[in-house]
Symmetry: C2
Subunit: 344 residues, 2 copies
DNA sequence: AGGCGGACCGGAACCGGTTCCAGCGACCAC
DNA sequence: GTGGTCGCTGGAACCGGTTCCGGTCCGCCT
């Protein structure tokens, strides 16, 4: 009921003209367009997206695969994606995929391979060759946001320069005179050098060795889950040990930093007088904690990913083919009150 | 390419039989079914959901409208919804709608009214009459999760008993002998008595007056944003005032409680010796903070909402028409180390 | 033996749009 | 005046499935 044929009949035109009038494609006289629109409004007509995409092959729907929704960064990205897609008239279908396993295969083989989505945005997940190939075969553009490095000819990638971020944060502490400076890294940082945590770790090492401080194995780098409890537990252990304590900590994310701050307080270590802490993210709670951090804009990254994907889909007049797809997204150091000059 | 007609041709049967064989509806001989399946596998056939839903009217897709994704409760619900829908073979289309405004209208009128979704799950948003009516008119089942009260004949509702939760938390503190006991409520608690924060506030008042403690206007209830910085700011102000401090705080959510804990520490007030704090949620960080809280299971609530919606859609043999849709979802008090007996 | 029911299969209609193609006036240029 | 272009419109094919309807064929009952 209320199909386009009804509209056409009521307006006294053919289905073809009605379609043209409503979709705005092709030539339609101004007066007939108005007639059709009036008829459509009168009977409350709305197009069937299924029918439309059946013939056009476009669904106006983007699949988003994301490993967590409840970690700040990812939630923020998701919001950015959603808002931007919505205002472009696109739907967002969510696939919460973490790690490997049958669920993940199901998503890629059953859900994403079908014609339901025009393109896929993967945030913070490394697609396997097989997964990429499957999508490629169906002509589905893929944009990867965060993690990994711009592959030779892989999918379009987007993100901040995590290695530079690690370097920047570490240099800030070095400039303040710290030398006993440990890195609270994300788990898997050493094992997966191209992951976000791996790159940040690498940046830390770069800065340290540039300063002539070969971080001795000991406990210069501690890996932990990138959450507040993760940072709390790791810092508790690190700072609770006897012997000379570090005077500064570079935490792989703000949430880890929050945990470390709390651990320090619990141990009676004063931040920043006895211990400087810097994080990365620009978490919405950073201000409350007074955390010095390297800010990024996850929602802005979401927006950028959508822009890119729409360009790949050929929307928006494409002024230039694929501009600056190499340039990393911006970050900046925000100094607050968790860092200060090293005690001498 | 690779339409069902190709499969049929390759298998030497008609489109009709191929469809029956693949979808499992109707009678098909075991041997032909195998032939068809083999043919489908050979050419890598996958159905076009658009074509299928065009004729069946079912999209296997559920719309979820949610005000935040980056608040713990909502993120957790979303994960629960996603996992459960996925395993039932449904897609989840996300609509991030906060408050009113043109964006919200757009979602309801443009996106949800179309035939793209079979049903709508609204979490933590109160649908207006108009919005409900629009969905009703298109025969789209609606399930509302959290907030509000079971309306007379409105949509199916689901959630915990927030008033009982407020009562339970308050009673715990009362039983420990606290009498100067303030409530850190969510913003809008007084103005919107049927909101989550409104109901929790009501539960607090119930328990107080049952204990003969008419909470004097003063500062017995302070409203604040239901986030960690919100709780931090409110507690800082509340506890920093001269005069007799409260000995216990009931925070409207765990995140508020975390903020309050941090504020207390910052002011040199010892938790729990000088101040007891209880929250509600069962946040994943609660254990780290040692927070006493009234736990709920948001992901479980997501699962329940999906079960309900699938039942409304007539999936799953519907054993009973609509069982116990009134019973609130479970909660329980978990006592940790932020609450203790009141000082005398 | 004849009738009946049920399993199995194919042809064709249909879901609701979009788009190709052809037709038709109107207008302009030669 | 005639041919060509252009704006507008309608008929019909088509996208890729599902399902109604009817026709065989077989087994079984009476």
């Amino acid at each position: 009921m209320t199909a386009i044929a009804d509209v056409a009949r009521l307006a006294g035109v053919s289905k073809a003209t009605a379609s043209r009038a409503l979709s705005g494609r092709g030539h339609v006289a101004e007066t007939t367009r108005r007639k059709v629109e009036a008829a459509a409004a009168e009977i409350g007509y709305i197009v069937s997206p299924d029918a439309a995409s059946l013939v056009t092959g476009r669904t106006k729907n983007i699949g988003v695969v994301i490993p967590f929704v409840n970690r700040w960064f990812f939630g923020e990205v998701l919001e950015g994606l959603e808002r931007t897609l919505l205002s472009a008239g696109y739907d967002l279908t969510l696939y919460n995929v973490d790690g490997a396993g049958p669920d993940r295969d199901r998503v890629f083989e059953f859900f994403l391979a079908r014609k339901r989505v025009d393109a896929v945005i993967a945030v913070g997940v490394d697609l396997t060759e097989r997964e990429l190939a499957a999508l490629e075969r169906r002509d589905k553009p893929v944009v990867v946001l965060g993690g990994g490095e711009a592959g030779a000819l892989g999918p379009a990638r987007l993100g901040i320069d995590d290695r530079a971020v690690g370097q920047l944060a570490t240099e800030h502490l070095l400039q303040l005179g710290h030398t006993r400076l440990v890195h609270l890294a994300g788990d898997g940082a050493a094992a997966r050098p191209l992951s976000v945590q791996g790159l940040r770790r690498h940046g830390y090492l770069d800065a340290m060795s540039a300063a002539g401080l070969a971080p001795r194995g000991r406990a210069a780098i501690v890996e932990t889950e990138m959450t507040m409890p993760g940072g709390y537990g790791a810092a508790l252990q690190l700072l609770g040990q006897p012997g000379r304590r570090p005077t500064a900590v570079f935490a792989a994310s703000d949430e880890v930093a929050f945990g470390a701050i709390r651990a320090a307080e619990r141990l009676g270590i004063s931040v920043p007088h006895d211990l400087s802490i810097v994080g990365v993210d620009g978490h919405e709670y950073a201000e409350m904690f007074g955390l010095t951090t390297v800010e990024q804009s996850p929602s802005g990254q979401g927006r950028a990913a959508v822009d890119l994907v729409l360009r790949l889909l050929g929307e928006g007049a494409e002024p230039d083919p694929l501009p600056d797809s190499g340039a990393p997204l911006p970050t900046r150091l925000v100094v607050r009150t968790t860092t200060m000059r090293a005690p001498n």
